[in-house]
Each structure stands twice: as C-alpha cells, then as structure tokens.
C-alpha cells in the first residue's frame, strides 16, 4: 500500500455515513435490527427459571449473550452488499473510478463506513443489555451474566471482527453481483460461517475461557485480513465498469 492516502479514505467514509443517514431504508434497518436482537436476550434474562446452581445459571445466560453477536453480522452484511452494487446501479461508480483513488483506499473507506455503525450499534446493544440486566434482572442471574468474563471479552473482541468478515464478504459479493438484491442475499449467506465459533461456544463444545476467546479472536482477525486482501485483488476497474474482466 504505497502512497496510501488517508484523506481519500476519510472522504469515502464521510460521504458514506452521510448517505446512510439520508437513506430511509438503511436508517430503518439500523434501528429495527438491533432492537429485535436486544429484546430476545433481555426477555430470556428476565424470565430465567429458578435454577439451583451457579453453573446452571451460567450455562443458561450464555446463549442470550452470544445471540447478540448476530448484530455485527447481519447489519454489515446488508450495508456492505449495497456498497458497490448500489453505486453501480445508481451510475455513481464510474465517476468515482475516474478519480485517483486506489482500490485499497476505496475498499478500506467503504469497509470503515460500514463498520462504524455496525460496531457502534453492537456495542450499544451489549451495553443496554448489561444495563438492563444490572438494573432489573434477578440478582442471581445478573451475577451469572457479569461473571461470564470470557464471554464478555468475546462480545467486545468478536463484534468488530465478525463485522469485518461480513463487510469484506459482502463487498466481495457486491463487486461481482449484478443487482443489490442478489448482493444482499449472497452477502448475508456468506457472513454466517464465522458464527460457527459462536455455535461451538453456545452448545458447549468449546468451554469459554479467556485464552479460547483470544485464540478465536486472533483466528478471526487473520481470516479478515486474508479476505480483505482477496477482495482488493478482486477489485478490477475494468470489470466494475464493463462487467468484463481485464484482459479477457
């Protein structure tokens, strides 16, 4: 990434965020999805049955907490799929590609713009969940939640990493997809594989500990970086403009 210009990246980010704010469907999506994924875990905590042991309670609260990690997967998948296919559909992609922006700058700018609301909303939902649990939940349940250290760490670390995966996969699909709808469907599908990690934790195949949380986070980070490089390589101006790969 020689001569990488952060000014161009921030120009893309600013414009994207501005555009999101003014697109009603995106605003509604960003408002409704987190609410849906917040209600279920909170209800689960409030109606928690009277379980005898602390370990049984700990296992019970695990699933509602991990459930919230769907937010950093679903929101960016929707936005990222729109990012390039949407530009192409609106006819704004070609003027953009005629500027000096490099592909890495463009992709990083787009990805950052998707990551910012996704991660912000994810953390906001986590915070609201913890706040509601602390204020209103049964003290035993509340204690079980706040003693899930590895899971709390996983929420903090996994949210941006899962969002990163969903973003780059969504953009990879968006580069190739002919329409936004197709891009969104395929992008959402492609964002699910890392959730396997969450399933392993939720069903108890892997016992949640701090080292496990850190190892999974490192694995996700490496996957994100690799797939980012792959998407950068896929970003071919000629294909984006003409639909035909350069040299064909």
């Amino acid at each position: 990434m020689t001569n990488f210009d952060i000014g161009r990246v921030s120009a893309v980010v600013r414009k994207e965020l501005r555009d999101y704010r003014r697109k009603r469907s995106i605003v509604v999506t960003m408002a409704v999805l987190p609410a849906i994924f917040l209600i279920e875990p909170i209800l689960a905590i409030f109606v928690a049955p009277a379980l005898g042991t602390q370990s049984a309670l700990a296992r019970y609260v695990l699933v509602p907490m991990l459930y919230m990690l769907l937010i950093p997967v679903i929101i960016p998948a929707t936005l990222a799929a729109y990012s390039i296919a949407g530009e192409r559909e609106q006819g704004t992609l070609e003027p953009l590609l005629t500027t000096p922006i490099r592909q890495q700058e463009f992709i990083l700018g787009k990805a950052t713009a998707v990551m910012i609301p996704s991660v912000f909303l994810s953390y906001a939902v986590f915070a609201l969940f913890l706040l509601a649990t602390w204020l209103f939940a049964n003290p035993a349940v509340s204690s079980a939640v706040f003693h899930q250290g590895p899971i709390l760490l996983a929420l903090v670390l996994f949210a941006p990493l899962l969002a990163g995966w969903a973003v780059v996969v969504g953009m990879a699909v968006s580069v190739r997809a002919s329409e936004i709808r197709v891009a969104q469907q395929l992008g959402t599908l492609g964002s699910f594989p890392p959730l396997g990690v969450i399933v392993l934790l939720a069903v108890g195949v892997v016992h949640p500990t701090f080292p496990v949380a850190l190892e999974f986070a490192a694995g996700l980070l490496i996957s994100d970086l690799l797939i980012f490089r792959g998407v950068s390589a896929m970003f071919d101006r000629e294909r984006l403009v003409t639909g035909v790969k350069a040299g064909s």
């Binding site: 000014g7 161009r8 697109k23 006819g91 704004t92 070609e94 000096p100 101006r237 000629e238 350069a246």
Partner: protein
C-alpha cells in the same frame, strides 16, 4: 519542383524524431528532420518516393497531403503491417539496425514551387482519409494528411494526448482498433461516431478505467500504463454520459466528496469557483435528486473542473438534454475553451462538434479521419457549383465539358446540375456565360456547401457499404 515538409515529431527526442532519408526514383535526395522542408526537383508524372528511416514507420498512418492540383494521387506500401505492440517493438528494434523503408507512388501533375506536401510523422495527427466523391460522379481515392491542431501561442509544447495504434478487444469483439491521433493543450477535440463505434471505450481506456489490448498512449504527459493509473487520473477528469451524482447529497456535498478524492485540501474556494463557472452557486445547497437533468449535467461539469485537470473528457455531455439545456452546456464548454481547458468531447451530434470543436476525429471502430471540420469538408468534397434552370438543358454534356475549369458534372434533378470545378470563383462566370450563350433560363448558380454531417455520413456510409456482403 515539389516541396515535401515534415511536421514536428510527436515523440520528442525519440527515435521517431530522427531524420528520414528521401529517395525519389532511386536517387537519394537528402534527409528531412521534423519541422523541415525539402524541395524535390521532379517532373510531372508518376514518381516513386521512398522514405528510409532508422525507426519503424507505421505505414498505414503515414499520411501524405496531396495538394490539390499538384499531386493527384498517392498510394503507399510498406513492409507488412504490425498491429501488435510486441511486433511493433520488434520492428522498431530491427529498424534501428536496418533501415526501414516505405514506398510512396505519387502522381505529380504540375510543377509548382509552392506545392507543399506535408509528410506526417508516424505519431503525429495522421489519420488516413479515403474519400469517395459521389457528389461529382467520379470515384477517386487518396491518402490525405490531416493538419495538426492549432498551436495557439505559436510555441512548441508537449501534446495533451498522444495516441498510437490503440486497440481494445473484448474477447472476439473489437471495441476500437488501431486508433492514432494527437490532441494539443488548449484544444477542443471532438470524437465523433455512431453508437457502438467505440467512443466511450476509448475515453475509458485513456482514463485508465480499461486496459488497452495493444497500442500506446500518453495522457497529459504520462505514458498510459497500469502503474501510472493514479498519476494519470490525478491530471485528468472525466464526465461520463450520465453524471452519476449522489442524489441524496447536496450539490456542495457531492463536490466536497470528489474534492476529497482528488486530495484537495481547503476545497471550499475550489468548489465555489467550479459552481460559479457553471452558474450554480445559488443551487449549492440543493439536493441533487431535486435538480433537473440539465442542472445535474452542470454539476457533473463542475465536478470535472474541481481538480483543475490538464485534460477534460466529456462523454456525450448533451445526451438526453432538451435544446435549451444542451445550449447551456454548449455555452459552458465554449466558456471552458476560452479559459484554455483541453477538452476531449465525444458526441454523435454533428452540429455540436461543428460548433464547439477545433478539430474532430470520426471513429467507427477504426479511426476514419481527423481534421478541422472545414478542412475535412474540403478534402472530402471537391468544389462544385449547383446550377438550376427553368427547363432541362438540351445538351448539358456539350455545354459543361466545353468550359475550362469544369472537371465533371451530373444531373441532380431534371433541371438541376452539379458541376465539379477546380475553383468556383473563377469558373462560375464562365459557366454563367456558357449557360446564357446556350439560351438557358438560369434560375440560380451557387456554390455547393457541405456540412460536417455530409463528411460524417460519407465516411460512415462507406463503412456500411464495405460491410455489405
């Protein structure tokens, strides 16, 4: 005596600017460098002119201006045609060791010291015009050297665009092939052609959005290579056919975005200047989605001005606009031309090209011709008089062929005749006298006028006819 002149080389101090040896009828008569002229003592009649160079001369692009009345026909042959970069490179290497030769047969019909036949350098503005003159009833073919663009300050300077043998294939389909031309700074260059001719693909290629299959180009002084993409895009701006604005953003926000992409810090004054140039200052805070198509086109133009580009590509900027909006865009382009902006304008509107462009090129997959509109008309169509009489002439053949200066004639209608003449100003009185002497009731005698549209249709029709089985 025949004067041969060679315009400025298009490649600076490259091998293309080396002297060419001139051999006429087997006799070496000396050499000629760029911007030099040489007087060649030749009699009337056909001669073999041979050019020898230690650089590869791309023969099909070697244009030879047949000065009317002095050189009636020119044909050109050379060692094979090498359409691909690799082959051309090899040919250039070979030529640097062994002289490369081109033979030209010219039919010199009149001795005149003032006759000038510019030889165009291989990379110069050198399209080959194969003109078929249907209007005169006679068919002849010539290679016509197109003049270089005007150098407004008279000084020598680098060209804004130098395109040499550029070709783009999409699989088996050819978008454009073997396109060569040159555009000077400050010039408005029209790129004409029917739909699907390859105009937009050419713009995208020069704008580094698409990689050429073969050929070379220099854009705003930078060689067109994948590594130079960012630098080239920094020096140019392109307005695609659809302006491609973000409709949920205001005019200013759209421009701010692009100013950021061009790396312009403190962009507010630039944005103001650009909006002022397109008369949109009062709409700066309007959402682009609420603007008419004409206004959006203006915002697109303002966007292309932001980076103060060395070359501005406008791809059909008036496409789909109503006449009033199109006129506004025309006036803006005229204003930009007045400011010395180099504009590469693709269009299929011939009135637009005629009105706005210093020179035009006509593309129909291959480049058909390049030149100033009026010169194209002159080169493609012979001077002619249109004679209208009240009743058909009894013996038009006897009448017209007996008049000095009349080259040919044909009946355009029952009592209307097109008379091809060498010089309308001198021959028209003779034709008038002849008609009166023959007792004809003359309604009118006037010079035939051809528009750029005639030139265009002539060349495009040739392509259509050539493709017929």
């Amino acid at each position: 005596m025949l004067r041969l002149s060679r315009p400025n080389g298009a490649f600076g101090r490259s091998p293309f600017s080396r002297p060419w040896s001139i051999v006429i009828d087997g006799k070496v008569l000396g050499s000629i460098s760029p911007r030099e002229s040489i007087d060649v003592p030749v009699d009337s009649g056909p001669h073999d002119l041979q050019l020898r160079s230690r650089s590869y001369l791309k023969s099909p692009k070697l244009a030879f201006d047949a000065a009317p009345g002095r050189v009636s026909a020119v044909s050109c042959r050379a060692r094979g045609r090498q359409p691909f970069v690799v082959q051309r490179t090899v040919a250039t290497l070979i030529a640097s060791v062994f002289s490369h030769e081109i033979w030209i047969t010219l039919d010199h019909v009149e001795d005149d010291d003032t006759a000038a036949a510019p030889i165009q350098s291989p990379g110069g503005t050198s399209a080959t015009s194969v003109a078929t003159r249907r209007s005169t009833g006679s068919f002849s073919t010539q290679l016509a050297g197109m003049p270089r663009s005007p150098r407004r300050d008279g000084a020598e300077h680098e060209a804004a665009l130098v395109v040499e043998g550029l070709t783009k294939h999409f699989g088996a389909r050819t978008a454009f092939a073997d396109v060569s031309f040159e555009v000077d700074y400050g010039e408005v260059f029209g790129f004409l052609g029917p739909n699907g001719a390859g105009k937009t693909t050419t713009v995208r290629t020069l704008g580094t959005l698409i990689a050429p299959t073969s050929g070379s180009a220099t854009v705003a002084g930078i060689p067109l290579t994948p590594e130079n993409g960012v630098e080239i895009r920094q020096r140019i701006s392109i307005m695609p056919e659809a302006p491609g604005l973000y409709l949920r953003l205001t005019v200013t926000e759209n421009l701010e975005y692009f100013a950021g992409l061009y790396g312009l810090s403190h962009s507010a004054p630039r944005i103001n200047d650009a909006l002022e140039a397109v008369n949109l200052l009062d709409r700066a805070d309007d959402l682009c989605g609420g603007l008419s198509k004409g206004l959006r086109q203006r915002v697109g133009l303002a966007r292309t001005l932001l980076s103060d580009p060395k070359v501005m590509f406008l791809d059909e900027p008036t496409s789909g606009l109503d006449p009033v909006a199109a006129l506004e865009v025309h006036n803006l382009i005229i204003g930009l031309r007045g400011r010395g902006v180099t504009i590469f304008l693709t269009t299929h509107r011939l009135d637009e090209a005629e009105k706005l462009c210093d020179r035009v090129a006509i593309l129909n997959t291959t480049l058909r011709t390049v030149g100033r509109p009026n010169e194209l008309r002159e080169q493609l169509f012979k001077s002619a008089l249109v004679v209208k009489t009240l009743t058909p002439l009894a013996d038009p053949a006897g009448l017209f062929t007996g008049i000095s200066g009349v080259e040919s004639w044909f009946a355009d209608d029952a009592a209307s005749y097109v008379v091809t003449v060498s010089d309308p100003r001198t021959v028209a009185p003779s034709v008038t006298r002849g008609l009166v002497g023959a007792g004809a009731d003359v309604l009118s005698i006037g010079e035939a006028h051809h528009s750029l549209e005639d030139v265009y249709l002539e060349l495009i029709d040739e392509d259509v006819e050539a493709r017929r089985p």
